[in-house]
Symmetry: C2
Subunit: 179 residues, 2 copies
DNA sequence: ACCTGAACACCGTTCAAGT
DNA sequence: ACCTGAACACCGTTCAAGT
């Protein structure tokens, strides 16, 4: 006799995403997720292969949303600001996606490409098609590095972080712009 | 009747550092460390307060060694290359120190200062004292972001990574150099 | 004074048994 | 066809008991 479904993969992933922000990666346990979706932990394995895979799905969902936000943006400063705003809104997801460490499963490549496309488009307009890839990587590396350090508290000791961000954006954009 | 000491804090931290590189953070379990130093897991708690604290000690030791390597370096390109070489040699330690995520304990601030000092000195020579802090943060953010993405495999898909590094170094150095 | 086995509370995961 | 309790192998950590 069939039992009605009490949850969905979507609900599980969204619950895990919320838990990620409130409790950290450590807090995303199968039991905590199960409890929040109203089911016992073993039932989750009907929808998702493993905890690692669940974390990966969270990373992929987050990266998709980031890509969506970057989609229409044409100004490099606005692009950088949009990336930073995402980092501030969802710091744990940002770190998971941008510096997964050795533990968490990286989002599979196709999810990164959508986000890369926007950056590459803006970089190409600035640096010209020949230097587009290098310019995109320079801009991305700087922004991701900056936001990561900001979220980690590396900048906590003194100085105006906002001023350093604006200084960096201006210099990087100038540096990759075709004369 | 006293029992002779069978290990030391130093040996424990070094063993944990080695395990970090070979097995990842996940592999740094109290049992694995204990086995390698010839003791049972509970005995470790005579020397270190907790696993979290052990990871923090590993991070602090790694950051100290990085600071030592950066110490005498005056050329900005060489500074960036030294940072990158450290990342390639000890990828797990690099990620632990530079993007600890939410789980691992960050190295306490004093350990970061030694490394910062070298970068600040070089940045000051390039950008002048007024912009030194902002310039140092721009250079550091770019390098850390780049190396992190490189280690994560974000760059895996196509393109010449070495060329992107050299492009970035040249542009960033130019960007923060006083006219 | 350090080391250990046993124990506890927690994980992720599997699986037979329920409906 | 989905859900569950029970079980297993693993964690980190505590602690009484050994030497």
């Amino acid at each position: 006799m069939p039992t009605p479904e009490r949850t969905t993969l979507d609900e599980i992933v969204h619950t895990a995403s919320a838990l990620l922000e409130t409790e950290g990666v450590q807090g995303v346990t199968m039991q905590a997720v199960a409890e929040r979706v109203g089911v016992r932990a073993p039932s989750l394995y009907k929808r998702v292969h493993s905890r690692d895979r669940l974390i990966q799905l969270v990373a992929e969902g987050s990266l998709s949303e980031l890509a969506r936000r970057l989609e229409g943006v044409d100004d490099p400063r606005l692009l950088a600001d949009t990336l930073r705003a995402f980092g501030h809104e969802r710091p744990a997801a940002f770190q998971l996606v941008m510096s997964p460490g050795a533990e968490a499963q990286t989002a599979s490549a196709q999810f990164g490409e959508a986000a890369s496309a926007s950056i590459l488009r803006v970089a190409s307009a600035l640096a010209g098609p020949d230097d587009a890839l290098e310019a995109a990587r320079t801009l991305t590396a700087w922004a991701v590095g900056f936001i990561g350090m900001e979220l980690n508290g590396t900048f906590k000791l003194g100085g105006d972080v906002q001023a350093a961000w604006e200084f960096g954006v201006a210099r990087i954009v100038a540096a990759i712009t075709l004369d």
